[in-house]
């Protein structure tokens, strides 16, 4: 039995007819549970054993698979907007003091080619088109109401909720110091000099803003740091959107048949994309200013994917929702690294209440659900009426699979194969898994809940 790949898979020919471009191929590897170690005594022993067998934290059932794949597809469409707009804001809107129209994506960015889809892809993950997804374009035109001027769609909130993407970006910015080199680079003189050049170029001929910059340089630099995170997240999601689209297509074609297969697709994608550069370029009057040049060598896996998972899936912030947190009563941890308000812990039930970002994403995903998932939701709980919650919980399940993929990828990169014959190596793997799963011992964690199919 083969192990999970320790090295990045090489581009191979796509199995599609007439395909001549590099294409990403899934290599699913599912192992039998290890018999060389005694059973784990961990609270989540069945989950540990499943991870050791090459599975995910989510139980492998057709129902779970259907939910997570359907949600990936529904997530990928708004994500196709998110990454384009994040890059547009980082590269073009930049320090506009009145960015009223930053969510009004120009055609140039809708037509921007995704580097991992389309005929001219660097590495073709999705076999679809490189430009904005057709469902996204259709929604942007009519929304869920009817065709009307873009401004009215915007004011009526009949649009993609970019606020969600910005909330994720801010979570990454706010939880600085999560490892990697990208974040420390933002405090270097080199970065500040690059930012200074871009700021001066952007406000050239604007004495008011230049004067303000002279007076409050750190404020402007901090804004540029935030914009660098816009770019970081945009580049991260540029990769994830085609990954999710491809998974959906493969599921529809019957090529993905189990949760571990889905997770392994993600693991392989993570490794395939790991080296993708993370940078921040700004376009000012036809000139490109490299605030974070590609030559810095920041890699997608370590500078975008891992910080994103840590900041958004685990930590985020104690948002004001239906639950009030009293920091003085120590209900909010002193240390940001102990925050536990991400989607893996989120209470999805009070959907629609203020300050819970997944609500915005859930609203976005609602517009792009595949029919089989809509039919499925109609059969459970309140059907149409609480579809938002049901899809929110499916989203939670799917993010446990993504997190499983990250854990497996880290284990692959840092530790040993799952079928390693050396029991000490297997023990090290187990210790790693147990440490990771310890984070879900908190009562708020939904790992317990997603083990049951009745959690909807």
């Amino acid at each position: 039995m083969s192990s999970l790949p320790l090295t990045l898979p090489a581009p191979t020919q796509c199995p599609m007819p007439n395909a001549h471009y590099p294409c990403f191929v899934m290599t699913a590897t599912i192992l039998a549970p290890s018999t060389q170690l005694p059973p784990s005594s961990h609270e989540f022993a069945p989950v540990i054993h499943r991870l050791e067998a090459g599975g995910a934290m989510l139980p492998d059932t057709p129902e779970n698979l259907m939910q997570i794949i359907g949600i990936y597809k529904a997530y990928a469409v708004p994500m196709d907007f998110y990454w384009r707009d994040l890059l547009y804001i980082a590269e073009r809107v930049f320090l506009n003091p009145f960015p009223f129209f930053k969510y009004f994506l120009p055609k140039e960015y809708l037509d921007l080619h995704n580097h991992y889809a389309g005929d001219d892809a660097d590495l073709r993950i999705w076999r679809g088109e490189a430009t904005a997804h057709p469902e996204l374009l259709a929604f942007m035109e009519k929304g869920e109401t009817f065709k009307m001027p873009k401004l009215l769609h915007h004011l009526w909130h009949d649009r993609i909720n970019m606020e969600f993407a910005e909330a994720c970006m801010r979570a990454m910015l706010w939880h600085r110091g999560m490892g990697g080199n990208f974040d420390p680079y933002l405090d270097t003189d080199e970065y500040k000099a690059n930012a200074d050049r871009a700021i001066k170029a952007y406000f050239k001929g604007n004495p008011v803003m230049l004067g303000l910059y002279q007076m409050f340089p750190e404020m402007f630099i901090e804004q540029v740091r935030q914009l660098s995170y816009y770019s970081n997240l945009g580049l991260f999601w540029e990769v994830m959107a085609p990954v999710f689209f491809e998974m959906s297509d493969r599921y529809d074609a019957g090529d993905i048949k189990s949760v571990p297969e889905a997770m392994n697709f993600l693991v392989n994608a993570i490794f395939a994309m790991a080296g993708r550069p993370i940078y921040h370029h700004v376009h000012i009057r036809g000139e490109v200013y490299e605030i974070i040049p590609k030559s810095c060598g920041f890699m997608w896996l370590y500078e975008a994917a891992l910080p994103y998972v840590e900041a958004v899936f685990y930590r985020t912030a104690p948002f004001r929702g239906t639950k009030s947190y009293n920091a003085q009563a120590k209900q909010v941890p002193d240390n940001q690294k102990d925050f536990h308000y991400g989607i893996l812990y989120a209470d999805v039930f009070p959907v629609g209440t203020a300050g819970i970002p997944p609500t915005l994403l859930m609203q976005d995903m609602l517009h792009f659900l595949p029919k089989y998932l809509v039919d499925y939701y109609h059969q459970h709980c309140r059907g149409e009426d609480d579809m938002l919650i049901q899809l929110g919980i499916s989203f939670q399940r799917s993010m446990y699979v993504v997190t499983s993929a990250v854990i497996q990828a880290l284990r692959t990169a840092l530790l040993y194969p799952l079928d390693d014959p050396n029991p000490r190596h297997l023990q090290a793997n187990r210790a790693f898994f147990e440490t990771q799963i310890d984070r879900f011992k908190r009562p708020e964690a939904r790992l317990r809940d997603v083990q049951s199919q009745n959690y909807r």
Partner: protein, 489 residues
Amino acid sequence: MLSILIWLPIFAAAVIGFWPGTISSISTRLASLTVAGLVIMWNLFILLKFDISNPGMQLQEYLPWNETLGLSYKLGVDGLSVLMLLLNSFLTWIAIYSSSKQTERPRLFYSLVLLVSGGVAGAFLTENLLLFFLFYELELIPFYLLISIWGGEKRAYAGIKFLLYTAVSGALILAAFFGMVWFTGSTNFNYDALPTQTLSTTLQIILLFGIVLGFGIKIPLVPFHTWLPDAYVEASAPIAILLGGVLAKLGAYGLLRFGMGMFPQAWSILAPSLATWGAISAIYGAVTAIAQKDIKRMVAYSSIGHMGYILLAAAASTPLAIVGAVSQMFSHGIILAILFHLIGVVETKVGTRELDKLNGLMSPVRGLPLTSALLVLGGMASAGIPGMIGFVSEFIVFQGSFSAFPIPTLLCVVASGLTAVYFVILLNRTCFGRLDNKLAYYPKVLWSEKIPALILAAVIFFLGVQPTWLVRWCEPTATGMVAAIPLLE
């Protein structure tokens, strides 16, 4: 004309109950709703015919029945009863509508409800003591059966307790009625044929005491209230609506009609004690409600408190206070109906009425948001928040009573403040907070379950901002009744 209000529901009850063929549950419900709707329409027609400026009995009907016994079929309506009739027919319709479509033994259930409706209408309409007593007692068995068959876990206990208390109430009232006839030497039981004011003051006080005790049990007043929480809590929501909205009003009506109306002199003597009693009832009801863990029981105790206001207003015996008492009877019926209906919905969907278990029902998708919002509205109305019917009636009660009994009135104002306390507790624990993930799989509330509450909410708001429509019916009657009472010293 008035007889239709009595006999249409009773006839319908007989038809539904004794129809030889089989009738489906839905058809039975539909037929009962139709009859109740027709009764409402007829009530509205009577309102149109009602002369607001006339303080006396109107639209009278008379048929000699048993002259030897002094029993005659004499009906009439005045400012005291006209609103009660409307309340009775309206809440009967609401109760039928809010009953479950899966009610067991639907024919018996709906016949009993209609029988109650006809009986209550008869009691409000009659002008003969004996006939009043017959109609008054007519409710006893149907309500007993409605509690005992379709009630909750302790329905048998609650039903028997209700039966015993109200039987004693009936016995006291009957004794007082007989006393009124015997001591006055009258040959019949018609209200206008009883010169009760010619009796000695002592005798008047004794007879009034029997009336007050008898109807005090029915209202109920502390300490004769212990049947109420059990009966209200164990009864199903539609029956609780009728118990609190209609039956309790019969007690208050009897107190005003027979206590104040027939013994004005004795009434003025007992008034200070009655006012104090009303204030004690109001404070007791409110304080006890605060301590409850069952939201239905909390509302039941709140009902005891609010009925205390009526006794205070009746004791004060100023025209404004009497208008306030009648308004409070109507508004309390409406508010209690919306609260019991909503609590019924919450219990059906969530499976509990326990304050410690309920939480986060306001949650917009998985909770019961509209039900919770209406519950908040009902609580606000009950607490006397301006703009709603509860404010109008309570304000008039307090305004009308303060000049006569300032301290009991102030105590009732404090009780009104305590109403806000227990409703805040109820609403805060029930509607707000985080919805428990493990429990939050409640079935959705159907429109048919929302409609009764929406209608009641509309009435609460409408009469809250247009109180003239509530108070104008009884103003001349109240003035006329008060004129017969000697001035308090």
